[in-house]
Symmetry: C2
């Protein structure tokens, strides 16, 4: 690491791209001192309405050593479209996964660009997930239930294109949802009937 | 397979649990005849707002051989909470993943119960995802970015508890989001700068 690099790394950061960069870097330093602060638990709950229609709620979570609440309680409808014998009261579950992937990569892009003193003017993305429903319909031996592949297409404007590409690559390397979706997570299901 | 089983399988189905069971079974048969109908592509798009705040849109998809649109365009805010240096304009990306998982399993439960002539009166669930943010903050060598584990807890009421448990198990075995989240999906990222 050269002296110049050290100087750049230590330079005071201004808020940039709407990111409170000084606070972001202070938070990272605080967590470095006290790693237990980094243990979070996120949650969602769901209530079946009728058919494939359900309502999900996102509200509380645990983090930084305490129970916390979002500013407001978020309720989202989910359903299957008519072509899949639902009533289309909301997006399908798999579309919410694509939405989450785009949003996670985008938040990372904004944070990483700010930490690197790179200005963004726009970040847009589309995510496409290909799925063969022979899997979930139980009609295709060896056809998986989930997406066979996902493609994310980003369009960014801002500073130097090369730097922007490196920011996207670093966001991918540090994205929670990218990790979940590409590498999988152990899921335990508990059932109570009554 | 016994004669009784065959008779049960062939019995005409009534709509049940809000599921249009005759239409569901007819759709499965139609896809059996013409497997290309099962090829779907779901999509989401995203536009960065500021900081970690972005807006995702879910609207069109491809399926059953044609371009289709949901009844309405769905727009969802995403952000990080203040404790993670965001402005809490919406749920975090990872919470949308938990939400999707609960909704997918719930839709499957309703469909499978209907196909098996089992009545549901309520289905509720909570999903908890544990995450150590040392991963995404780049502070923990070997700490993954995503959830380390997810726990789904279902409470169901309706017909015979044993049958309800088997319905949940079959929903797990045929869930698109459960497959995505537990087994992972290849993700390609394309970047255009300008």
């Amino acid at each position: 690491m050269s002296a110049t690099t050290v100087a750049t790394t230590r330079a005071p950061r201004e808020p940039r791209n709407g990111v409170d960069t000084p606070n972001l870097l202070a938070t990272i330093n605080a967590v470095k001192e006290m790693p237990a602060l980094a243990k979070f638990q996120f949650r969602a709950s769901n209530k079946w309405v009728s058919g494939t229609h359900s309502k999900g709620t996102i509200s509380g979570f645990y983090g930084a050593g305490q129970e916390m609440e979002h500013n407001s309680v978020h309720v989202f409808d989910v359903d299957h479209p008519a072509v899949l014998v639902g009533a289309d009261n909301g997006p399908t579950p798999v579309e919410y996964v694509l939405h989450a992937l785009a949003a996670c990569l985008t938040a990372g892009i904004a944070n990483i660009a700010a930490a690197r003193n790179i200005n963004l003017t726009s970040v847009e993305s589309t995510v496409e997930g290909d799925i063969d429903l022979l899997g979930i319909l139980g009609l295709g031996e060896g056809v998986r239930n989930g997406f066979q592949g996902i493609k994310v297409s980003f369009k960014l404007t801002g500073d130097d294109p090369d730097k922007l590409r490196k920011v996207v690559e670093q966001s991918r390397a540090r994205s929670a949802v990218y990790d979940i979706v590409t590498n999988g997570v152990p899921v335990e299901i508990e059932v109570q009937t009554g």
